[in-house]
């Protein structure tokens, strides 16, 4: 689609949407958001990009093949569950690391976060796979 408006707006919106998708992903654990929504937002960004500049350019902008993203995401998700083995709990039990970085700021990083990142990647890869295959024709 060769539209000047879309290209100008797209250039502005795509980075914003990608940034927002990461924000949604990280916010997800205690507040509305998460891997699925974040992933969809990122898919929206790449979808918009592919509409404006064509699928080939969008594929290039993604750097990796969507299938690799699916594989990576699945792997992250399944590995995150094994964290429970170290605290002798059943599979998928959350393991949390807490760092006091500043007086009023503690960083919680845990295996559920890794799981969420996995979901994020699977959603991006899976939906983009379908989207690109339809748009290609």
């Amino acid at each position: 689609m060769n539209s000047l408006i879309l290209r100008v707006v797209g250039r502005l919106l795509v980075p914003l949407m990608l940034l927002f998708s990461v924000f949604l992903l990280l916010r997800g654990h205690n507040e509305p958001g998460g891997g699925f929504v974040g992933g969809l937002m990122a898919v929206g960004a790449f979808g918009l990009y592919s509409l404006t500049y064509g699928v080939a350019t969008a594929r290039k902008a993604l750097f990796v093949d969507p299938r690799t993203l699916v594989g990576l995401g699945l792997l992250l998700a399944v590995i995150s569950g094994f964290g429970a083995a170290f605290i002798d709990a059943p599979y998928l039990t959350g393991v949390w690391f807490v760092w006091d970085l500043a007086p009023d700021f503690t960083l919680h990083v845990g295996t559920p976060t890794v799981f969420d990142v996995g979901v994020y990647l699977v959603v991006i890869g899976g939906v983009l796979m379908a989207l690109f295959s339809v748009e290609d024709d």
Binding site: D65, R67, T68, V70, G71, L72, G73, L74, L75, A77, V78, G81, A84, A85, A89, P90, Y91, L92, T93, G94
Partner: protein, 516 residues
């Protein structure tokens, strides 16, 4: 301990994700597939032995306590099904090494196959109704893509019908689950087994039970909900057809058995009578449909339906002996049915066609294949001493014991017609000479070239003979699972803890805040 129970899910999942990651290295995908399948077989046998020795095994995923989190439960039936999945998975992956072309491998065949095994095992092991829905969707999504992979026109047509009818069933299942939750306030199957009998409005329970019957019935392919099966199962490559034929409808049968022994036993007179009618009609329509077909894969597809009827018959009669027959029948059927599809694939390789008219001369050209066809074919028809004889014998006896002569008569007629179908393939593809319009002349067995196809067939044929000749341990396993199915006390107590089985106590013990 918990890792052994979860390994039937974790191994294929891990394999699938690694193989997905290396999607552009098809060889690597094949290696990952074979390795995962072997590991899966080893761990699932270990799980079955463990369950047989120590009783029902339970894991509360992510450490959430029983009715609140998701429980994974391995009783005899689940463990048997998981072992069968592993056997068929291994056979299919080895068969695929030759049968699946490079293009399909490149588009993620092995990761998808492993995802399918992941979903099937999850469905067998979960102890939570909603989680069961999720597993169904996992295995369905993998099966959708597997069925359409390659994108030939018949495949697209078949997938269309397969996908849309199955999605309809899933939606129905979702609604039924929602209503169950509304009645009881829980979705943990053990908890449901305690709380469903206490629901005052028993008519509603029966209505919901019927919804489950329809949803699972579509997936199992019982009468009159099977139309999608003969429309789609003959379209994908043989390896895919075989694993679908062996496993997928049996997931439906497994869930039917689970639902109508553990959960919905309040109105047996209605629900199980309905099942009995469905069983008889399933057998008859399936076998008559097969009699009208002259394409090997389509004959076999119709036979899946008629065989489902036998399993449902065992469930519907609802006596200890009948359930033993049903479980034994599933064991025998999964192996034999997948094997017949595999043999069909070799027939196609040797003669160039699936159409019976265009095949022939195989008995003379390949006595090896003739023997390998006769073993599963006669087993399917129920000839002693092969594996099909025992479950049929048990089911007939169970039918006669409760004096349901009609269903036994139907089952006998179906058996005879099955023999007819198998002799039809035998006479046309093996006995008859090479026909005029044959696609290509048959030149021997080509064993050396097609060994990746022959090996799984031999492996499964060997299991068929072992089950037939040395049936005692298999019978014992089936008896143990039937005993567990009929008395849900052990299941409930191993999930919820000691003393949970007393219905009144359970209600006051864990009040969920949802008034029925």
């Amino acid at each position: 301990m918990s890792w052994l129970l979860l390994s039937p899910m974790l191994i294929p999942f891990l394999g699938a994700s690694v193989a997905f990651l290396a999607w552009n290295r098809p060889r690597f995908g094949q290696v990952v597939g074979v390795v995962s399948a072997v590991l899966l077989l080893i761990t699932s046998v270990a799980l079955l032995l463990d369950v047989h020795a120590n009783g029902i095994r339970v894991v509360q995923a992510a450490n959430w306590e029983a009715p609140f989190g998701i429980s994974f439960v391995a009783d005899h039936l689940s463990a048997i099904m998981v072992v069968l999945t592993a056997i068929i998975g291994l056979a299919t992956i080895v068969y695929s090494l030759f049968d699946i072309n490079r293009e399909r491998t490149y588009y993620g065949y092995y990761p998808l196959l492993l995802t399918l095994l992941f979903g099937v095992n999850g469905a067998f092991l979960t102890g939570d109704l909603f989680n069961l829905y999720v597993w169904f969707e996992v295995l369905l999504l993998a099966s959708f893509v597997l069925m359409s992979l390659g994108g030939t026109r018949p495949q697209l047509d078949g997938t269309l019908k397969y996908v849309f009818i199955n999605l309809l069933a899933s939606a129905l299942l979702l609604v039924a689950i929602g209503l169950t939750y509304g009645m009881t306030g829980t979705l943990n199957m053990a908890d449901l087994a305690v709380k469903l009998p206490l629901v005052e409005n028993s008519g509603l329970v029966t209505a919901v039970a019927t919804m489950f019957l329809i949803a699972f019935g579509i997936k199992a392919g019982i009468f009159p909900l099977f139309a999608w099966l003969p429309a789609s199962y003959h379209t994908p490559p043989v390896a895919v057809s075989a694993i679908f034929a062996g496993l997928l409808t049996k997931v439906g049968v497994y869930t039917l058995i689970r639902a109508f022994t553990l959960l919905f036993t309040q109105d047996v007179g209605y629900t199980h009578q309905l099942l009995l009618w469905a069983a008889g009609l399933t057998m008859l329509t399936g076998v008559l449909g097969a009699a009208a077909q002259f394409e090997i894969r389509r004959i076999l597809s119709w036979h899946i339906i008629s065989q489902i009827g036998y399993m449902i018959m065992g469930l519907a009669l609802y006596t200890p002996l009948a359930l033993v027959g049903a479980v034994f029948y599933i064991t025998h059927h999964i192996i034999v049915k997948a094997n017949l599809f595999f043999v069909g694939g070799i027939i196609k390789r040797l003669t160039g066609s699936f159409e019976l008219e265009e095949t022939g001369g195989l008995y003379k050209a390949s006595p090896l294949l003739a023997v390998l066809f006769l073993i599963p074919a006669f087993s399917l028809a129920g000839f002693p001493p092969l594996s099909g004889f025992w479950p049929k014998y048990i089911l007939f006896r169970a039918g006669l014991e409760v004096e349901s002569y009609l269903i036994v008569a139907v089952a006998l007629i179906t058996g005879i017609l099955t023999t007819f179908s198998m002799t039809k393939i035998w006479a046309q593809a093996f006995w008859k000479g090479t026909p005029e319009g044959a696609a290509r002349p048959v030149r021997g067995s080509r064993f050396r070239e097609l060994r990746a196809l022959y090996l799984p067939v031999m492996f499964l044929a060997g299991i068929t003979i072992v089950i037939g000749v040395y049936a005692q341990p298999f019978l014992e396993l089936a008896q143990a699972s039937a005993a567990e199915l009929l008395d849900s006390r052990a299941y409930v107590e191993s999930v919820l803890g000691e003393g949970a089985y007393d219905p009144v106590l359970a209600l006051t013990g864990s009040e969920l805040g949802v008034a029925p």
